[in-house]
């Protein structure tokens, strides 16, 4: 049974990983044919992966309703939200535009999904301001450098900030926008490149561990 439950899946991982990696570096009609086939298949397999998220969301809210946990009534709105997208989609057979006019699916996107998703993320703006006020403190030289870099970006990216800079420091003949450009194309590149390389080494090691079956947490427990 271990063969079916464990070894064959690990073999699939190894074979697919090895062939994909080597096909990337070996430009040959055979490897291209392999990539074409696997790309098509991956597209389909991955198309089902999001169902995991969908079903676990449904299960968890179904359980809340079934057990009548405090606030269970709100869980009903998860299903309502889902239907608000899916019912119009089937009525208009997946089309958002009918010629030049909006279908009910296009309507649902523009007035429901767009409003909900856009607003949910925009709320962070309020918290970033209050956090900046309460927690952005210069307590060390490193924090001072971070503070100065942030301040230059905040001033230098908008016209009003640029005008303020010109008013106060115009005599230096240095434009704040030029400092922003320099910051972004020199020290920021150095910092980011270092992080990039650190991440690259980690990712390569993890990928090799997955291909060789050393890292197998994603497979769950036996």
């Amino acid at each position: 049974m271990t063969l079916i439950k464990k070894q064959i899946p690990l073999l699939i991982c190894f074979v697919v990983g090895f062939l994909t990696l080597s096909s990337y570096y070996v430009p040959h009609p055979v490897s291209e044919k392999y990539m074409e086939g696997i790309n098509k298949w991956e597209n389909i397999v991955f198309g089902f992966a999001f169902l995991l998220g969908l079903l676990s969301l449904f299960f968890s809210h179904y359980n809340k309703i079934r057990r009548r946990v405090p606030g269970w009534g709100y869980s009903i709105f998860v299903y309502i939200g889902f239907l608000m997208m899916v019912v119009p989609a089937f009525v208009s057979w997946g089309q958002q535009l009918d010629g030049a006019s909006l279908t009910s699916l296009g309507w649902a996107y523009r007035f429901v999904f767009n409003a909900l998703s856009g607003t949910m993320f925009s709320v962070l703006a309020f918290y970033i301001v209050s956090t900046a006020y309460r927690a952005f403190r210069i307590k060390s030289p490193q924090a001072a450098v971070l503070f100065i870099a942030a301040l230059i970006m905040i001033i230098g990216k908008v016209p009003l900030g640029q005008m303020m800079w010109d008013g106060a420091l115009g005599w230096t003949n240095v434009l704040v926008a030029d400092i922003v450009e320099w910051l972004m194309s020199v020290p920021v590149v150095a910092g980011r490149r270092g992080i990039m390389m650190g991440l690259a080494v980690g990712a390569i090691v993890t990928a090799l561990k997955i291909i060789f079956g050393i890292e197998r947490q994603y497979m769950g427990k036996d």
Partner: protein, 257 residues
């Protein structure tokens, strides 16, 4: 059969987007937007409803897009076309669902290993070529000749900062002497990066907020029958009433903000 077709036609007719629907859309968008913002004052049922709708709508959207743009053409139409080979990735994809049934959850490993092997195989060239070799090349390039004086100076700063950051990341041995100094300078370069990232994040978040405010302004017009004003007024009325009821109940004690 004809009866069913008639019912479907009547049902579909209900979903025809008329000018009235567009105005109602404005009310819907303004209402949902303000319901979410009401959380900034304090947690309340309107926010919770909008939050749960968001979860469902997000999933619903992905579901319908995947259904009509992937499953239907790639699986259903292909099967109808006699391409039975698509059954293999379909079964692999569906195998993932066995995760929900502990007794047979091992079947999902077939789908997962297929995805993970492919992902791991592709991530290696990305990291080696794009994020490793090309970056080292980019660091050396300004010194290869042809670059002007200031480009060389900037190139030297990048190379110096980059090496210092690497010292900070890669030397897990006890840091002392030159290594410690380089690593400390590396921290300053990282701080410059984080500072610039923070400054940009502020701008990014404000832009998103601006976008929603711009929509709210649009829906506050007479064309939408002042949807924003009315919904905002109703929410304020709710909070005033809530405060009055609350202050009667427990002497005005509110959780701190």
């Amino acid at each position: 059969m004809e009866f069913l077709a008639n019912i479907w036609q009547w049902f579909a007719g209900l979903f025809t987007v008329t000018p009235g629907w567009m105005i109602f859309g404005g009310w819907m968008a303004a209402g949902l937007t303000l319901c979410i913002y009401s959380f900034l004052y304090k947690d309340n049922p309107f926010f919770k409803v909008a939050e749960h709708l968001y979860l469902g709508a997000g999933m619903g959207w992905v579901f319908q897009v995947t259904f009509f743009q992937t499953w239907k053409p790639r699986v259903w139409d292909a099967l109808m076309d006699g391409q039975f080979v698509v059954l293999i990735p379909t079964v692999l994809g569906l195998s993932l669902m066995t995760q929900f049934f502990p007794r047979i959850s091992w079947i999902s490993r077939y789908g997962f290993t297929f995805i993970m092997g492919y992902g791991a195989g592709l991530v290696i060239p990305l990291e080696i070529t794009t994020n490793f070799l090309r970056q080292i090349g980019g660091t050396i390039a300004p010194f290869a000749g042809g670059a002007g004086f200031w480009a060389m100076v900037n190139g030297a700063i990048i190379a110096f900062g980059f090496i210092c950051v690497l010292f900070y990341f890669f030397f897990s041995v006890e840091q002392k002497g030159v290594v410690k100094k380089a690593s400390n300078i590396g921290i300053y370069f990282l701080m410059l990066y984080f500072g610039a990232a923070f400054g940009n994040t502020v701008m990014g978040r404000f832009s998103l907020l601006y976008g929603r405010f711009d929509d709210l302004y649009k829906y506050s017009g007479s064309g939408y029958f002042y949807a924003t004003h009315v919904v905002l007024g109703l929410l304020v009325a709710y909070f005033v009433l809530d405060k009055l009821v609350l202050s009667k109940k427990n002497g005005g004690q509110e959780p701190a903000h």
